[in-house]
Amino acid sequence: MSTVEIDRNKVGGQGNNPDLPVNGRTRPAITAAGLLQLAARIGGQVVVGLIVFLIAFPSLFVIYLSFSEKSFFTFPITAFSLKWYQNALSGQFLESIFASSILALTSAIMACVIGTMCAYALNRYRFWGSGLLTNFFLAPLALPQIVLAIGYLILITRLRSFTGVNLTGTLPGLLIAHVLVTTPWVIRTVSAVLLQTDRAIEDAAQSLGASPRRTFFAVTLPAISPGIVGGFVFAFIISFGNFELSLMVSQPSFEPLPIRIYHYLTEKSDPGVAAVSALVVVFVAMATWIIDRLIGLQKIL
């Protein structure tokens, strides 16, 4: 507050500038307005800070809890330790981290291939239904997940009784479900980059003698690769964190981490959960930062 006043005084005090209004007359008004503005700004920053804290609170709190020394949660923590990280990185949790990683990795790769193909087709070959088709491919993002989950469960159960193909509780069964919900993210990311890529570079490549296939691999693919990498990271973390579909389909033999945590919590709750959660939080925050570096998150979200 005082700094602003000083600044104003300085400007007014120099007084040599004939364009400036007469100092004595304008100063009170400026100060009052400045005070009000400053108050509004500080108030605004506090409000924004509080809201952002609300959003970030669970992620931060879970990290705090993970350093507890006791075998139950207390607040505040009196004795800190890293022993729960040992617990998080062994036994069932490690198994599930492993399961989730495999699931996320394979579904992200598949989503990238399928999603990039779809995004390219939908953006480069426009026809009367392509807008509708784009919406169709993005639909899994905008429907209550539980509905999709129960439908998928019934579908694969029926599939088993009719064809003998068993997808329930298996990696392929989970994989298909996850590709279904991660592909839209890849389509969106790649589309965003495709829209920014000058189509003329493809024409240029063709005018220089590159066949359409060659053009795609030599020019288009490198140009949209940030989008594909971004889509991959997105697909990975979406799959890694998916809950509803995994809950319906998975079985104890192959249980993704969120489901393991959920089931663990129904039995007991100790800082082991917090430790494994903290690992996920740190990992996701890093991945988010990477995507932002790669393509700029604002373009996709």
Binding site: L54, F57, P58, I114, L138, P144
Partner: protein, 323 residues
């Protein structure tokens, strides 16, 4: 279904710009083949196009459309505890779902929570969205990552964190005592209340409202606000008369998504509301997994879907019609 909902956060101009040098208005009455240059694909292109879409189409038609067909299909079949589902068309499940008092309560609670959360979400999202659209550089990146990274952390983890914060000797009660709001003897029982669910969901949906909102504010020409102020509008009037109306598309997209997410959320109400406060998603899961009544579960799921989508598309039509 409205485009806005299905493309959450995407700018409304999610279409390639028309080719420069597009033809002037129709001059000679040739038979119309379509709407634009790309309408007419060469046979070779058509093949490439189909080939590129094929894997996605197979996946989505079989498993996405298939899932819906089965939800709807099962919801119209009879269920017997001994034989499972029996073929044959019936409306019993819908009748049961719509006449059962406890399901009424569950449905009502789900809608109430979703509306309250979305409404509070708008109030809390605006300041952050405005801040995001005003600042630049590292501070912006930091704020942005803080706002969105929880988006990708599994709901279980976040609900678990909230539940630990809300327990009687938890951080929230301690802070309130420290602030002098409550006495040590009057600790609040937050966990397993609707308030707990609302706080938890609010944290889940805030990024979904903030993101489209900030992008639609950011898209506005900053000169517009300056122009309004130069014409004598104070910052508040400027916000209300210029910034807010122009941000409506983003607001509609964000709140629609928020409502959809709240209506279908499972893990947050389950962990923060507990078994005494079931919502639609937890009830669907209970019917399917514990009661093994897939038909009633299907009917509930379909009611949830139909209601949510109807509300959202009416809402979109209403506000976009005005905008």
């Amino acid at each position: 279904m409205p485009n806005k909902v299905l493309n959450p956060g995407l700018p409304p101009d999610f279409k390639p710009e028309p080719n420069p040098g597009m033809p002037a208005p129709l001059k000679k009455g040739k038979q119309a083949k379509g709407h634009s240059e790309e309408d007419v694909l060469q046979p070779q292109q058509r093949l490439t196009f189909a080939g590129l879409l094929l894997p996605g189409m197979i996946l989505f038609v079989v498993f996405f459309i298939g899932s819906f067909i089965f939800v709807v299909g099962y919801s119209f079949q009879r269920f017997s505890p001994t034989e499972g589902t029996i073929d044959g068309f019936t409306l019993d499940n819908y009748q049961k779902a719509l006449s059962d008092e406890s399901i009424h309560n569950i449905f009502g609670r789900t809608i109430r929570i979703s509306l309250v959360v979305t409404g509070l979400g708008v109030l809390l999202a605006y300041p952050v969205a405005l801040a995001l659209s005003r600042i630049e550089g590292f501070r912006r990146t930091l704020l942005f990552v803080l706002v969105i990274s929880p988006l990708f952390i599994s709901g279980v983890i976040r609900a678990f964190a909230w539940s630990q914060a809300m327990v009687r000797p938890g951080i929230i009660n301690e802070v309130l005592i420290w602030l002098g709001v409550i006495q040590t003897t009057g600790r609040l029982n937050l966990l397993y209340t609707e308030a707990a669910v609302i706080i938890g969901l609010l944290e889940v949906i805030l990024p979904f409202i903030i993101l489209p909102l900030s992008s639609s504010i950011r898209k506005q020409d900053p000169a517009l606000a300056s122009a309004a102020q130069s014409l004598g509008a104070n910052p508040l009037v400027t916000f209300w008369r210029v910034t807010f109306p122009l941000s409506l598309p983003g607001l509609v997209a964000g709140t629609s998504l928020s409502f959809i997410i709240c209506m279908g959320s499972y893990v947050t109400p389950d962990l923060l509301g507990g078994p005494r406060l079931p919502v639609m998603a937890t009830e669907v899961y209970r019917q399917v997994n514990y009661m093994s009544d897939w038909s009633l579960g299907g009917a509930l799921a379909f009611i949830l879907l139909a209601f949510t989508m109807t509300v959202v598309s009416l809402y979109n039509r209403l506000l976009n019609g005005k905008g």
